[in-house]
Symmetry: C2
Subunit: 411 residues, 2 copies
Amino acid sequence: MCRCCVRATTSPAPTSWCCRAEPPVGPGSTPVASATVPSADVVITGTGLFTPPYSISNAELVASLTVSVNEWNAAHASEIAVGAREARQVPDAEFIEKASGIKSRFVMNKDGVLDPHRLRPHLPLRGEDELGLQAEMALPAIYEALAQAGRRPDEVDCVIVGCSNLQRAYPAVAIEIQAALGAGGWAYDMNVACSSATFSIQSGVDALCNGSANLVVVVNPEITSGHNNFAMRDHHFIFGDACTAIVLERTADAIASEQWEVLRGRLQTKFSNAIRNDFGFLNPSEDGERDSMELVFRQRGQQVFKEVCPMVVGHIREQLDALTLEPAGVRRFWLHQANLKMNQLIAKGVLGRVPNEDEAPVILDRYANTSSAGSVIAFHLHRGDLVSGDLGVICSFGAGYSIGSQVVRKR
Amino acid sequence: MCRCCVRATTSPAPTSWCCRAEPPVGPGSTPVASATVPSADVVITGTGLFTPPYSISNAELVASLTVSVNEWNAAHASEIAVGAREARQVPDAEFIEKASGIKSRFVMNKDGVLDPHRLRPHLPLRGEDELGLQAEMALPAIYEALAQAGRRPDEVDCVIVGCSNLQRAYPAVAIEIQAALGAGGWAYDMNVACSSATFSIQSGVDALCNGSANLVVVVNPEITSGHNNFAMRDHHFIFGDACTAIVLERTADAIASEQWEVLRGRLQTKFSNAIRNDFGFLNPSEDGERDSMELVFRQRGQQVFKEVCPMVVGHIREQLDALTLEPAGVRRFWLHQANLKMNQLIAKGVLGRVPNEDEAPVILDRYANTSSAGSVIAFHLHRGDLVSGDLGVICSFGAGYSIGSQVVRKR
């Protein structure tokens, strides 16, 4: 008996799996239509989005970094002249949009980021009795998601914070949010970078299916401006801040007017240092000086592009194969929002052609890369026109490498 | 149909729960014996322990801090004389053992911790192509656990790192470990402080029950010496380093000669700032200077003692009530190892009398508080004498506050 969908199955060790993972017909047969995919035990009953108060255009960002780069080059002119250092290159707003599709990004603080002598946010120091910044971002997103779900905050019994950087080790940010909600049950923080949302959704689904929780909130407070490198031309434009929230419930319990079945999740990780950040609690104990560039986000962008795109194409194809669905049967792809070309290449690899904005909506033009929040923002803002039975794929990818996807269907 | 044990049950929203949570008989009836508790779908098939190479006695620690305190008091003598500052008190080895039960602790580096002018480990800076320190601690613990389980590292398809501090944000430490094992599937990092192990076990159980994973490794690489405050008399003795690992599988898949059914897990969190650490990636963006004492472990010990002990007693009692088990039917309590008096008070609250070492084994005398690893070390070192059918409770508690417990039974 398969536990998750109560159907007879065999369970050979150690390759046993939910029976939903096994194609009900042979791999060469005709894919089934959406309606024949078994119904799911868990549904998404609400999503929420907190958008920070400030937007920064490419032109503003470029103006600031240009001042900084020119000053740095002037300060290191003699070393640059004798070839001991390489001159830093000034940024280019046109290049940014062409290379990434990003036009602007939201941030929690603007003047600190744009101050060429600071290039990081100004965040007022908060005492321990004040709500932390990540909890502050989380609450409006969660309230919006709970309102969609028709649920009160005190009905929540599980809060999972999944994001690419946590503002402290303990107490967990998730427990602070749980308390602010007046929620019961339990809460914890998790991190698998850009895939923190899709992985957390799976943890929530697993907890609901196994009865460990009844009303799960997954929340992704991404303050990327706190770990981005605004001093480097290749990185300064990449990220933006945002927070998303997702409410998950067992299908049998859900009361929301709009519900999305979570048909199948897939999580995948493969180690890579091509995206890395070495800031951490052991730094003060390390002997020797770290390059300050190691203590914020860094990446080898071309390598990431080349390695991750084919992995994601294979990942999504295997997801659809497992459900015996054709890519053409997927109404919408809510992809991780890092780079427009990356998304076009991935969607092309899955669909066999470049998708239009209706098939793979873009939010990175306004939000930039918001790490784990990106694909959830796309799902949050671009699902209203879909109808009952429509299928979609929420898919994240990024540092780790980590890839996570959830195939969903509107009830 | 209850998914986790395939028995008929009702599922009222939003308070539905696994049917195992419902006492099979009324609350006033006679508790059932161990054999009548339904069998579990998931078993622990192995555990492992990495003990760091260096041990520090209380006397050694006190000698070092005494030098530091005397120098600090001398340096601030004029301020102390006029009452502008309070003199720091010298530590006392006898007091430490009397107050906590701790005699020594293991650390990854000894000379840095004992250097009165440093009071933190010396950790050689490692490049990104070298194995990280947390992954290095994790591997021997995992290999030991897998050997018990009769499993190869490449059979693992889920690695969850749960610990009270992660050495970097990305790539996840768990993915680094997954790669070092040659494991497949997926991996992520999570943190809910001292309860990271018991919570991660539940995530593993949920993933196994729902078919999201087949062979789960939970691993707890605790480098507490990297975030302890060795400069303060009230804190310097509390912690030690260690790493534990647990292998989880579905009962139907398990091949280990020794297996422990995971009968029921319970997770509970309640926000508190009584244990806190504000070190984090937002510090460089904060306006104003933080007290350096805020950037490492700090606690209000008396408050923690008073608030946490009754919570844990209630938590364990409710666990046993849900299984209609009497405390006397529990063969062994593997409790979080923070403070001997705390454990005695908790066990007394559950049993009605002070337990002996056979009922509630102590490892904190040698290991001190190893955060999430503590209760797992106790389980790892003190279960060999139990026989088939014997019941035990693994229970953690600490910062958050977080409390987690798993009721287990030897098959």
